[in-house]
């Protein structure tokens, strides 16, 4: 029966002939959809019902269930039913499905909550998340202080490895993007400045905006996407495969092995990357200025040394370690929040990147306001 070719399949049918229900075709899951619809729409006959299955060519568990469902419905309406023409296979399957004692009512329904309940739950959830994050930062700080007192506990090997991953390997993309950013600023700003015959001030524009604001920001955003996500995915996967628990069982603090080297490495790497981004951004502006605005390299560099104060330069670089701490903390924290499944790793990684970038921009704005207040 099973050797029948796939293309020769027939839709399952049910024809009503007074009180006789004539079933035919293939009562298999792939052929049941039309029958399911028509069963919903047709009114079943009253009184004693006969079901004839002699024209059913094939049947599987799905088909047997649809039949059983019909029988249950008739039973509920207290109608007498006579089933005939059952093949041995159909009989066996019907018996099997009946013995499971499943009824349409036994399918568990997911509990759907209302708006107010959702709001309450998500507020509570967020409050708990904040507390857990604070606890995580506290734990991290205490382990770190312990390491500062006894520097021999710092894991230099892991730290250098992370430094290579997050710092050295990011040079290409950070360099390219800041160079292009410098080009764009010089081009867009230079066009305006030329109208006032002030083309030389393109050095001020590119220098200040890159060094003070954009280089630290773009570097932090790239690193959040590149390294922050990697931290979450790595720790999250280790969490799923119980590797984190394995570390704990061997008496190795995950905080010490997994988190602090990343934090330390990023705090070292991000300011250095920012310096590199400064140089590449200014270089991009310089190339554009000479190509489009006829501002030569010497004139540009002369102007730059006047326009960009040491203060501005240090403000830009000084923000980098703060951004680094935010990215590493959120990345690792989200990694430890992973529970159970591969899907959870994906969700937490997204969260980690989105939250890090948001936090970096918010903190950057706070820096601007605060520095302005102090007049730096």
């Amino acid at each position: 029966m099973r050797a029948l070719n796939e293309d020769k399949q027939q839709m399952a049918t049910l024809q009503m002939d007074g009180t006789l229900l004539r079933c035919g075709g293939d009562w298999t899951v792939s052929q049941l959809s039309v029958l399911e619809l028509s069963l919903k729409q047709t009114r079943l006959p009253e009184g004693r019902v006969q079901i004839d299955l002699s024209e059913v060519r094939r049947i599987d568990t799905g088909g047997a269930w649809v039949l059983q469902r019909l029988l249950l419905k008739l039973e509920q309406r207290q109608q007498a039913v006579e089933v005939r023409g059952l093949s041995a296979e159909a009989k066996g399957l019907l018996e099997l499905v009946r013995n499971t004692a499943i009824t349409p009512a036994s399918v568990p329904r997911l509990y759907h909550s209302g708006v107010v309940e959702d709001l309450g739950r998500s507020s509570l959830d967020r409050a708990r998340t904040s507390i857990r994050l604070l606890a995580f930062i506290g734990e991290m700080a205490s382990v770190w202080l312990g390491q500062l007192i006894r520097p021999s506990r710092i894991r230099w090997r892991e730290t250098f490895h992370e430094l290579g991953e997050a710092g050295y390997k990011a040079l290409g993309i950070v360099g390219l993007l800041s160079f292009l950013l410098g080009v764009v600023i010089a081009y867009q700003g230079g066009m305006q400045l030329r109208q006032y015959a002030a083309s030389l001030f393109v050095a001020d524009l590119v220098g200040l905006s890159m060094v003070r604001e954009l280089a630290p920001l773009i570097t932090a955003i790239i690193i959040a996407g590149r390294s922050g996500s990697a931290y979450t995915a790595q720790i999250g996967t280790m969490q799923v495969t119980e590797e984190v628990d394995a570390l704990r069982s061997m008496g190795i603090a995950p905080m010490e092995l997994l988190v602090l080297p990343k934090l330390l490495a990023l705090i070292i790497a991000l300011p250095l990357l920012t310096v590199y981004a400064d140089i590449m951004g200014v270089l991009g502006g310089m190339v554009m200025a000479s190509a489009q605005l006829d501002v030569g390299f010497p004139a540009y560099i002369d102007r730059l040394s006047v326009a960009v104060s040491v203060e501005s330069y240090l403000v830009g670089i000084g923000k980098a370690p703060v951004f680094a701490a935010i990215i590493a903390t959120l990345g690792c924290y989200q990694g430890f929040q992973v529970a159970g499944s591969a899907e959870s790793v994906g969700r937490r990684t997204t969260l980690s990147v989105v939250q890090s970038i948001m936090a970096v921009i918010v903190v950057d704005a706070a820096f601007s306001v605060a520095l302005n207040y102090f007049g730096i």
């Binding site: 599987d60 799905g62 269930w65 649809v66 499971t100 036994s106 568990p108 499944s341 959870s344």
Partner: protein
Amino acid sequence: MPLSEAVIEVHEMTLRFGDKVVHEKLNLSVRRGEILAIVGGSGSGKSTLLRVMAMLQSPSAGTLRVLDNEVTNMSMAQTLRLRRRLGVLFQNGALFGGMSVLENAGVPLREHTNLSATLIDEIACVKMALVGLSPDDGLLYPNQLSGGMRKRAALARAIALDPELLFLDEPTSGLDPVSAASFDELILELKSALDPTVVIVTHDMDSLWRVADRVILLGGASVLAEGTMSELASSHDPAVMHFFQNPRAHAAQESV
């Protein structure tokens, strides 16, 4: 049609990963309606052989026929259609972590049929009941399940489309003896209810004695011996004796 008709034929199959030869010119056939067990030491390529037969791994050389289809030169569409007629129970269940058990059991139905969500859930419930899970277990997520329940849930998913061929990769590994024994019974019940051809990879001696109609012993990159469990257990071939005549194997035989 004759009962001994072959549903899977592996002919002169060779499988290499780089320099490592896993199978060398291996021949075997699986007959319709039987429960065939594949045994062998760790690293003898049992699971890769199962993966080849389930069309999850293509062989480096040789031919493979599954349910009268030459698999080696099949189009993508044909392969996908053929795969619907197979069910695979993976060693660790491979349940989708983001879905409840009920949703997991309904995945093949949702993908390959046009039935309504209600009917799919009901059929999934029937399948769960067949593997010994209650409808309420359907709301649990895979990480909330015990090892035995996870295997049962994965089996419910594997039989969602009433497969003609069921592959079980170490179905009783990681289960306590009681759960393992009840899983063996479950396999026999499903066999009699849905009548699939079953291929089991295992090294659980109790399970071999209980469920296997025929046993194939792998070793040295090809088939060392095949026969019923009692034939292999009484064999005088040293390689076969090494596997079947040790204290653990004896204990399993005596308990039958």
